[in-house]
C-alpha cells in the first residue's frame, strides 16, 4: 500500500516551522513523483557553464509542470439571450479545456523527463570537475611539448656530415 506523504512529515508540535514543512513536502513529492530533483547550483568550485545556464535550468525546474490551462470567459453583454449564450460558451470552454489538459498532462510528463535528464547531465558534469581535468591535461601536454622540444636538436646544430678536416 502506498504511504501517505502526510505520515512522513515531521515537525515540532509546539513550534512548527512552515519552511521546514514545505521543504519536506517537496522532498517527499520529488521522491514519489520523481519530478523535482535538486537543481545543480552554480558554485565557485565547479563552474563549468556560464551562470545563465544555471539560471535557465532553475527556471525550467520551476515551470515544467505549469502546462494546465483554465477557463477565461469574458463577460457577455447581450440582453435576454446573454446568460444562455454564456452557458453554451462555458460548456464549450470546459470541453476544450478537458482535451487540452489531457494533452498538457502528457506534455508535463515529457517535460519532467527532460528536466530530470538536464539536471542529471549538469550535476554529472559538475561532479566530474571537468574543467580541472582539462586544465590538468593541458598542463601535462605543455610539459610533454617542453620535454619534446628539449630532445629535438635544431637543424643548424646537427653535426656536419663531412668528416672534420677534409
Amino acid at each position: 500500500m502506498e504511504t501517505n506523504i502526510v505520515d512522513l512529515i515531521q515537525y515540532d508540535e509546539t513550534q512548527p516551522d512552515i519552511e521546514d514543512i514545505m521543504r519536506q513536502i517537496r522532498q517527499h513529492l520529488a521522491q514519489k513523483h520523481g519530478a523535482r530533483i535538486s537543481v545543480p547550483i552554480e558554485s565557485s568550485e565547479s563552474r563549468l557553464f556560464e551562470s545563465e545556464v544555471y539560471g535557465e535550468l532553475f527556471e525550467a525546474n520551476q515551470v515544467f509542470d505549469k502546462t494546465f490551462v483554465t477557463s477565461h470567459l469574458t463577460t457577455v453583454r447581450i440582453p435576454f439571450l446573454g446568460s444562455l449564450w454564456q452557458r453554451l460558451r462555458s460548456q464549450f470552454h470546459s470541453l476544450t479545456i478537458f482535451y487540452v489538459n489531457r494533452a498538457a498532462d502528457a506534455q508535463m510528463k515529457f517535460n519532467a523527463h527532460v528536466v530530470r535528464i538536464l539536471n542529471g547531465i549538469i550535476q554529472g558534469l559538475d561532479r566530474d570537475k571537468t574543467p580541472e581535468r582539462i586544465e590538468a591535461l593541458a598542463h601535462r601536454v605543455e610539459n610533454l611539448e617542453r620535454r619534446l622540444q628539449a630532445l629535438e636538436v635544431p637543424p643548424g646544430a646537427l653535426p656536419s656530415e663531412s668528416p672534420k678536416g677534409s
Partner: protein
C-alpha cells in the same frame, strides 16, 4: 493640513481591497482626530459605467468621513477596452496605446482642477495607482503626492506612463516588504520615499462557527474561499485543483465559496463545491471560524485582507506560493502553508485536514502576526508619524 484620499469611487457597500482600505483608513484617522477626507467621482463602483454619474456631485458625510464627489467626463470605452484587453492577455502595447489607456480611463476634470487649487494646503493620498483619478491627480501635484499604489506584478505596472508616474511622487505608501521590493524595482526614488505602512485589520469582531454551519447547512470539514470570484483571483485553478482532490480523495471535505462574482462551474452535483455568493459581514467572520482552512489562490495581491481576517478569526491559511505577498505573509508569520502545483495543494490540504494541532498552532502564529503588525492603532500611529515628519 487636511489629508485627502483620492479614489475613483467610494461607498460603504463597495467591495474590493483598495476600496475597503481607503474607507476604513479614512474612518480610523478621523476617529483618531486627524482631518481626513475623501475626494472621489460620482461613479458608482468599478463594475459600473465609468462615464455615468451615479451619485450627485457635492459634499456629504459618510460614517463620519467628509466625502466630496465630482462628476466624470465621457470617455471612449471601446478604445479603452481594446487596449485593456491586450494588457489583460499579456500583450505588449505601444506608447500611443498607453496614452489611450490613461486618456480614456475614469477621469474627472473638476476633481483634477480642485487638486491643483488645493495643492499648497492639502496632503493628497492617491489610491490605487492604475486609474485616471490617480494619474491625472498626481500630475497636478508632482513631488507633493502620497501614493498608496496597491502594487502587484502585472502588465499595467510595467507601462511607461505608470513607471514615470511612480517616479514623480513624494512618498510611496506600501503594504508589505514584497510590495516594497517590487516598487524599488520599478521606480527611481530615494530610500526615504518608500514607506512600509501595512494596512489596518479589524480584530475586534466576534465569530460563531456553529451559527454559520447551521445557517448554510454546512457539515464536516471544508476549505473556504472568501473574495471576488474572478479570473484575477485565480479561482479557476482552485476549483480545478479541488475537483481533482475530490476525485482522488473522495468526499472528505467541501469547498465553500463566499463573495461576489460567479464561480466557474460550482454547484455541479457531487463535486463538493458550494458557492454561497455574497454573504453579510458577520456571516463572513463566522465562516472564517467554521472553516478548516482558508485557501487564497490569488497570484496578484498587494496585501490580502482576507488572509489577515482568517488569522484574526483563528483559522490557518493556504496561499499560492507564486504570489510574493501572500507567500511572504505565510513565511513571516509562520502561520500558513503554500502550494505552487496540484501535488503540493493535495499534500497541504491532506496535512491541514489530518493535523488539527498543526492547524491550530499555525492559526495562533498568524493571529499573533496580525496583532503585532496590522492592528488599527498601530497603523493609525504610523500615519500620524508619517504626516508629522512632513
Amino acid at each position: 493640513m487636511t489629508i485627502v484620499f483620492v479614489t475613483p469611487w467610494y461607498g460603504q457597500d463597495i467591495s474590493g481591497g483598495a476600496e475597503a482600505e481607503v474607507r476604513r483608513t479614512a474612518e480610523h484617522l478621523r476617529e483618531a482626530g486627524l482631518p481626513a477626507e475623501v475626494w472621489t467621482t460620482c461613479v458608482r463602483d468599478f463594475r459600473a459605467d465609468w462615464s455615468q454619474n451615479y451619485h450627485r456631485p457635492g459634499r456629504s458625510n459618510e460614517n463620519g468621513v467628509p466625502v466630496w464627489r465630482f462628476p466624470v467626463r465621457r470617455r471612449n470605452r471601446d478604445a479603452f477596452d481594446v487596449v485593456n484587453l491586450k494588457l489583460m492577455h499579456g500583450l505588449s502595447i505601444t506608447p500611443e496605446e498607453e496614452q489611450i489607456y490613461v486618456q480614456e480611463n475614469v477621469c474627472s476634470p473638476a476633481l483634477t482642477q480642485q487638486i491643483a487649487e488645493h495643492r499648497e494646503t492639502t496632503r493628497f493620498c492617491f489610491i490605487p495607482y492604475m486609474f485616471g483619478t490617480t494619474y491625472w491627480g498626481i500630475k497636478m501635484c508632482p513631488r507633493d503626492a502620497f501614493l498608496i499604489p496597491c502594487l502587484h506584478d502585472e502588465a499595467y505596472v510595467r507601462l511607461g506612463v505608470f513607471r514615470d508616474m511612480l517616479s514623480l511622487v513624494h512618498r510611496l505608501i506600501l503594504h508589505t516588504p514584497a510590495e516594497l521590493a517590487l516598487a524599488r524595482s520599478l521606480c527611481d526614488l530615494p530610500d526615504e520615499a518608500f514607506v512600509l505602512m501595512g494596512e489596518g485589520v479589524d480584530m475586534d469582531f466576534t465569530t460563531n462557527g456553529p451559527a454559520f454551519r447551521q445557517k448554510y447547512n454546512v457539515v464536516g470539514s471544508f476549505v473556504l474561499y472568501a473574495g471576488r470570484k474572478d479570473h484575477g483571483k485565480n479561482v479557476e485553478q482552485l476549483v480545478d485543483f479541488f475537483r481533482r482532490y475530490r476525485a482522488y480523495r473522495g468526499p472528505v471535505c467541501e469547498l465553500v465559496m463566499i463573495g461576489g462574482g460567479s464561480s466557474p462551474g460550482a454547484d455541479q452535483s457531487g463535486d463538493g463545491i458550494r458557492d454561497l455568493g455574497f454573504v453579510p459581514a458577520q456571516d463572513k467572520y463566522n465562516a472564517y471560524a467554521a472553516a478548516t482552512v482558508l485557501c487564497h489562490p490569488s497570484l496578484q495581491e498587494s496585501f490580502s485582507l482576507v488572509m489577515m481576517e482568517a488569522w484574526a478569526a483563528g483559522t490557518s491559511v493556504l496561499a499560492h506560493g507564486d504570489c510574493a505577498v501572500t507567500r511572504e505573509h505565510c513565511v513571516r508569520s509562520n502561520g500558513g502553508l503554500y502550494f505552487t502545483n496540484y501535488p503540493e495543494f493535495e499534500t497541504c490540504v491532506d496535512l491541514m485536514l489530518s493535523q488539527p494541532t498543526l492547524r491550530r498552532r499555525l492559526a495562533a502564529h498568524g493571529q499573533d502576526y496580525v496583532r503585532r503588525n496590522y492592528r488599527w492603532d498601530t497603523i493609525v500611529a504610523r500615519y500620524q508619524n508619517l504626516f508629522a515628519k512632513e
